[in-house]
């Protein structure tokens, strides 16, 4: 298998539209201040731009922001373009209701047109692991010689349907996201466009193949004992040829949802025992960006790591005795080495992967 490297990063989200902005927001543990009204109920929401901006304009702004750092003119004509998204272009359907057609199926081509990148590829949709599935395919294609270069994007934009669904499931916080905190009360959703360019050519970040799994426990949760999440973490370590003790830092899924944070905490004990790596979650600064979150959080963390530090956990103040976890509350200096990433989603989807700073 050939090694795979990340050559370019791009991110547009509530924490910022530039690497400098994202770093500042994460270092300062900044919480997005926006609110979203859903049928007379008000929830916090992590807007990446003005709340009133139409969906198409949001897409253009987000894609424009990430394109600025991706050097797309240098992308080889034979490179593949993979997209991960959960809500896709439902925002356009809402805007034209009732629609004469449901334009969900040409989303990848539409994104490619806006970016000026018409390349072969696929759109992956698997709820919150959508972008990680695209990332996994991109890594696999380069590892096996099926591609030299792959552009991977995750796109999740403000719409009404998704927050309404999460509200129906009673998963949203009315106040703020507090990952792993004793007072955590639910998710805060957000929007993001995130991108990486993967390449067979060496660069400072090596990415190992993600481990993915299907956990049939329930449509919205995973095995309560943490075993399935532990399994994908071990799979990711195997792919990287590392032992748990080799991992100094771990970016958690931890969204602030009472039940799922607890399951992830149990999984950590199964893999690491009592000697845990430095833990952190950045969802309270970015919002939970659903289908884009795997890529958005990867890019945000690497933007910080490039600057020599890992981010603290926005929203965490008081440990939950039941979890027994104390994630980073201040910036942690970082030079190089492996970072483990966790993402869990609806539909039984699980993912973990390792990125090494070389």
């Amino acid at each position: 298998m050939r090694p795979v490297f990340i050559s370019h990063l791009g991110l547009w989200c509530a924490a910022g539209a530039s690497a400098e902005g994202v770093r500042e927001a994460l270092a300062q543990r900044r919480v997005p201040a926006g609110r979203l009204e859903i049928l007379n109920q008000s929830f916090p929401y992590a807007y990446a731009t003005s709340p009133g901006l139409p969906w198409q304009a949001r897409l253009s702004e987000g894609l424009g922001a990430v394109a600025a750092t991706l050097d797309l003119p240098s992308l080889a004509p034979e490179a593949l373009f993979l997209l991960g998204s959960s809500s896709m272009q439902i925002g356009t359907v809402e805007a034209t209701w009732p629609p004469s057609a449901l334009p969900m199926e040409n989303f990848r081509e539409r994104v490619g047109d806006v970016l000026g990148v018409q390349r072969r590829g696929w759109l992956f949709t698997s709820a919150c692991t959508s972008a990680v599935q695209a990332l996994d395919a991109g890594v696999a294609l380069i590892e096996t010689g099926g591609a030299e270069e792959v552009l991977v994007l995750g796109v999740e934009l403000l719409n009404r349907s998704t927050p309404a669904g999460f509200s129906a499931l009673q998963l949203l916080s009315f106040t703020d996201a507090r990952p792993l905190d004793q007072a955590r009360s639910g998710l805060v959703l957000g929007e993001a466009v995130a991108a990486v360019r993967l390449s067979a050519k060496p660069s400072p970040w090596r990415i190992h193949a993600p481990a993915l799994a299907l956990d049939a426990t329930s449509p919205t949760g995973h095995a309560a004992d943490g075993s399935s999440i532990a399994q994908v973490m071990r799979g990711a370590l195997d792919h990287a040829g590392l032992a748990p003790s080799d991992i100094p830092a771990l970016k958690l899924q931890a969204s602030g949802a009472p039940a799922t944070d607890a399951v992830e905490a149990r999984a950590l004990r199964l893999v690491f025992g009592e000697t845990l790596p430095a833990l952190f979650s950045i969802k309270a600064s970015l919002g939970h960006t659903l289908g884009a979150c795997g890529l958005a959080e990867l890019v945000a963390v690497l933007q910080c790591a490039q600057d020599g530090w890992l981010p603290p956990t926005t929203g965490f103040d008081n440990p939950d005795p039941e979890l027994g976890l104390r994630p980073l509350q201040a910036v942690m200096p970082w030079e190089k080495g492996p970072i483990l990433f966790n993402i869990q989603g609806f539909g039984g989807s699980l993912a973990a992967w390792v990125v090494e700073g070389l």
């Binding site: 969900m104 696929w122 349907s161 049939a216 539909g347």
Partner: protein, 182 residues
């Protein structure tokens, strides 16, 4: 020589009325709290698998399928609640709008299912390019490839549920080595 050999194929073209009966023949009792698109998807995948005259003792199965109109069809139900009735969708209705939930339902019905990749409108080149890459690290003995079309309410003349399923078996020489398996 290809690493994968087709061993079963299934083409479905059903009306909405025919679909109900077809799902019942493939999945006893149907799928609990699943949308019609998930039922059609899973029923087709199961039917294709059961075309095997003799099922393997301990298969390791990958599922790679293209959902085409699934998301649009199922999201329409949620959107109607929100836009026309000014009410929240039912929780199970919202969950059912995610195409990947079909894979979750399939795990209990397709033996050895360990991985699912859900794609949108991207059937071409999946077998030639994507499958070899995804299968390289995974010890799949079989792969189900599917393309599924479900009608949506605004599609002119569209009440047909159509799908093409293919079951492939890995050739013995194409299994990943122990250091490649995840």
């Amino acid at each position: 020589m290809s690493d994968w050999r087709p061993i079963a194929e299934l083409h479905l073209d059903l009306s909405r009325d025919e679909l109900r009966a077809y799902v019942r023949t493939q999945i006893a009792g149907g799928l609990r709290r699943a949308g019609i698109s998930a039922e059609f998807t899973v029923a087709g995948a199961v039917a294709c698998w059961h075309q095997l005259e003799r099922e393997p003792a301990s298969p390791c199965l990958g599922l790679i399928w293209t959902s085409h109109t699934f998301a649009g069809t199922e999201n329409a139900a949620c959107l109607r609640e929100l836009a026309e009735d000014q009410s929240l969708p039912m929780p199970f209705q919202f969950i059912a709008s995610a195409p990947h939930t079909a894979a979750l339902h399939a795990t209990g019905l397709l033996p050895g299912l360990t991985h699912a990749t859900t794609l949108l409108h991207s059937g071409q080149e999946v077998e030639a390019i994507l499958l070899p890459a995804l299968a390289r690290r995974r010890p799949w003995t079989h792969v189900l490839l599917g393309e599924v079309w479900t009608p949506h309410p605004w599609q002119e003349g569209g009440d047909r549920f159509q799908a093409d399923w293919r079951l492939l078996m890995r050739t013995a020489s194409a299994f990943p080595t122990s250091d490649q398996v995840s």
